[in-house]
């Protein structure tokens, strides 16, 4: 779907409230079946030995396949990334303030990516993933470097139950002096979700405090699960 039309379907206030409460916010029906299939098909394109080796090296055994967009994002995702960044930057700056952090993010993605390059962060992180039966993705976070945008986007490109079983998107939240909390982000085919990249502010009795987050994909029990991760900051 056109990036601006997609964003206009959602109320920024509602999304911000969901992010504050849970650390994620669902964006239902972002990709129609045609768009989802077109993206997923990229996983089947022939890749040379070098790309295959890099893809394998980046993944732990049992973690499935990852396809980086080495030649840049396809136009649909490129437009999305710019529009979502513009939409999320004010929310990101609000979180920075609540977390007591001084860094603020510019209004436009281009300016943010300039800051990434100056910080030595030049490796794009957005990717497609395909997990088959037995594959899973360990709990992790993408927070290398000094430029870390507090949100990223994940999406599911095929259908739970129909195309695969298991493969839940799980987040864990580690709070000071408390037990961790696990969350399962409900995703149907074509749904996206905004998630906290690595940390978020939580309202406490004495102001806000910071909690650390990780995310994972649980074991795929059958079939194959095709997902998308869209990140705003680049890696060192």
């Amino acid at each position: 779907m056109n990036a601006h039309a997609m964003i206009e379907r959602f109320d920024a206030g509602v999304i911000a409230a969901q992010l504050d409460a849970e650390g994620y916010a669902a964006l239902p029906n972002c990709f129609d079946p045609h768009e989802a299939r077109a993206l997923a098909k990229r996983l089947d394109a022939p890749r040379d030995a070098w790309h295959m080796a890099v893809s394998r090296a980046r993944m732990e055994p049992g973690s499935g396949e990852r396809l980086d967009f080495d030649d840049g994002l396809p136009p649909l995702l490129h437009a999305w990334r710019e529009a979502l960044y513009r939409w999320l930057a004010p929310m990101a700056n609000r979180w920075q303030a609540l977390c007591g952090l001084e860094q603020r993010f510019p209004a436009e993605l281009a300016a943010f990516l300039d800051a990434n390059r100056r910080a030595g962060q030049r490796r794009p992180q957005s990717h497609l993933s395909r997990l088959r039966a037995g594959d899973r993705l360990a709990l992790h976070r993408h927070d290398e470097g000094e430029q870390v945008f507090p949100f990223q986007v994940v999406a599911l490109l095929n259908a739970p139950q129909r195309d695969f079983a298991g493969g839940e998107f799980v987040m864990t939240e580690q709070r000071p002096r408390m037990q961790s909390r696990a969350m399962v982000v409900p995703l149907a085919a074509g749904d996206a979700a905004i998630i906290a990249t690595a940390q978020r502010p939580v309202a406490g009795a004495h102001g806000h405090y910071r909690v650390k987050l990780k995310h994972a994909i649980s074991r795929v029990r059958g079939g194959e699960r095709i997902g998308l991760a869209l990140l705003f900051h680049d890696a060192p």
Binding site: E60, R136, L139, H140, Q179, S180, V184, R219
Partner: protein, 252 residues
């Protein structure tokens, strides 16, 4: 569990899944009617020894009640039958992890050991989650005598009685940390590691001693409806005479 089911095959699969993932599903251990009758007991005061409101202890949101002895006959039978199947797995795990504790073949002998050590309070419990409730990732220990496997049975029907409320486990091994989600239907049981399991896959890579994986379990937010579960823990809890309250043993 009286129906014509091939329990030997189910337990063989379960042992394999426990070794690989620290959890295993036993399908349809209770019938829908049994589940509903048990869940209906939750509202009553009799038959329970205490009620815990999770938010008060930072355990999450929602509540649970510990059954008092004597347990309802169905639970008593289930706890004994499950223990009998699990004790050989527990003994093998402890040997693989280099732990000394071995468990007797029958639950009564193991409980006698717990009771002699002052762990006298029954641990079977029922949990109730309503919309917005969740359970943090934790381990149920309750004292020095710990049986390394426990069981939870989903009493409500997912999609009908509630949405959300997934049973989630994390495992922390040498290399990294994973999250597992166990899909359960009404009446299904999940058997899982209380606090650790041997890392069989890692051992198969040729390590001399089998490393351990730390396990925790929890429940993600229930989005709507009410979710009841039955928890069967095989060790009993330290009594009030001992200094620590039960809750202090449930560490993150």
């Amino acid at each position: 569990m009286e129906r014509d089911t091939n329990w030997d095959a189910i337990w063989a699969d379960a042992a394999e899944s426990l070794d690989r993932h620290g959890n295993a599903v036993l399908p349809a251990v209770l019938r829908a009617g049994q589940c509903e009758r048990l869940a209906a007991r939750y509202a009553r005061d009799d038959g329970f020894r205490s009620r815990i409101v999770m938010a008060r202890h930072n355990f999450g949101r929602g509540e649970y009640k510990y059954f008092a002895y004597p347990l309802p006959p169905l639970l008593e039978r289930l706890r004994h039958a499950l223990y009998r199947r699990l004790a050989p797995i527990a003994n093998r795990w402890n040997r693989q992890m280099g732990l000394d504790a071995q468990y007797p073949a029958e639950l009564d002998a193991f409980l006698a050991r717990c009771h002699a050590a002052g762990q006298t309070r029954p641990t079977p419990l029922m949990l109730r989650y309503r919309a917005g409730d969740y359970n943090c990732l934790h381990q149920d220990r309750y004292g020095d005598h710990v049986f390394p496997l426990q069981v939870a049975i989903l009493l409500s029907a997912p999609g009908e009685d509630f949405t959300g409320g997934e049973f989630v486990m994390t495992e922390t091994g040498r290399r990294n940390q994973h999250a597992d989600v166990v899909a359960l239907g009404q009446g299904d049981a999940v058997v899982f590691a209380v606090d650790q399991r041997p890392d069989i896959a890692e051992a198969e890579r040729g390590r001399a001693r089998t490393p351990r994986v730390a396990m925790r379990h929890g429940v993600s937010v229930v989005r709507s409806g009410t979710r009841h579960t039955l928890g069967l823990i095989f060790h009993d809890a330290r009594g009030p005479a001992a200094s620590a309250p039960v809750s202090a043993w449930e560490t993150a």
